[in-house]
Symmetry: C2
Subunit: 206 residues, 2 copies
């Protein structure tokens, strides 16, 4: 479809949607025409939710997770294990870990990972603020839950080196890598399968 | 992922995106977090384009296509064949036909097709306004370009019956159905292939 839009207003709205990641021009047009069929107050609410979020959102001053308040609900909670911190790349990862219901400690959102190719160094991330939390908060364990990419490994190692130098008493762990629950060996890549053998655990009967 | 959003503002914005067709909650979250990383004025522009479109858009008073003006550029053009009208279901279809560069007449956007299941009858569509155009605009040919569904066939037949009754001098045609250009017989459904044999045309060498 070429760009013969019958309306400049329509074209502008399509351009905005098409600027979002993995939204093509055809999808953008479909979404805009869908909004056009909605009630004016619904479109107003849609637009309002975006600007309100952008203008009023906070980032927790401790863990840097997104929050409506200066201190996020997790950091403010009295029911969390305050001596364990899970280090993640971004906000989605916090939600993913929370959704498991298996973690009851605190988080630290780095806001990215070290990536020299993209010009992202340790100073661009919330690493210093992580190291600064250890002593005043009396943190006993730091769980690294970063992606298993070269950048993730680099970031893991950077954090590990600083923690083991400055706070040798802190336990540094990483999340287990292995064959997915329900996953078949046949469809598991060799690296993951190899790791799952090296990191095997005692067999327990439930 | 369950609904443990760390921020109500974030959740509201995700809800709005997830209300769009074929946008799930994970995709909605990804889009919202992408917008959060943009500059405030960019988010403002995104929201503004939507409300401006909704509040200021026109529909052409003749063909009912979307337009910035009371009369759309196609209806206002002096370079179109003003005696041929192509009847389509919606705005996207106008853009699709325009993109082919093969049609130089005018359009008529019905705004839907007859669908008793959805409670859409002829009076809910721009059919009367189509019939009313024939005489004053001296239209010679009406091309039906509606979908080949039961609803499309019903609508085609309804329009055809009224045209042949009231304006027997008008030629009523429909777009050709057949095997797609570049399409292989092996992967063409029988109905389409059957139609392509019934509607065969003279062989011409280019």
């Amino acid at each position: 479809m070429n760009s013969t839009y019958p309306s400049v207003l329509l074209e502008n709205a399509v351009n905005e949607f098409a600027s979002l990641p993995s939204v093509g021009r055809k999808t953008a047009l479909r979404l805009v025409l869908h909004l056009l069929r909605r009630k004016p107050e619904e479109v107003e609410a849609f637009a309002g939710a975006l600007t309100k979020l952008k203008n009023e959102v906070h980032y927790c001053r401790v863990c840097h997770n997104i929050s409506d308040t200066e201190l996020c609900p997790i950091c403010a909670s009295h029911n969390r294990d305050r001596q364990t911190v899970c280090v993640v790349e971004n906000i989605q990862d916090v939600m993913q870990v929370e959704a498991t219901g298996q973690f009851h400690g605190l988080y630290h959102v780095l806001g990215g990972i070290i990536s020299p190719m993209d010009g992202i160094g340790p100073k661009d991330l919330e690493i210093d603020s992580l190291l600064a939390r250890i002593e005043p908060e009396q943190i006993h364990e730091v769980i690294l839950a970063l992606p298993t990419t070269m950048e993730g490994d680099t970031t893991n190692f950077y954090i590990y080196r600083h923690l083991s130098n400055d706070h040798p008493e802190v336990r540094v762990t990483q999340i287990a890598r292995g064959v997915a629950v329900g996953g078949e060996l046949e469809y598991t890549d060799e690296v993951t399968l190899g790791r799952s053998i090296l990191n095997r655990t005692e067999f327990v009967t439930n």
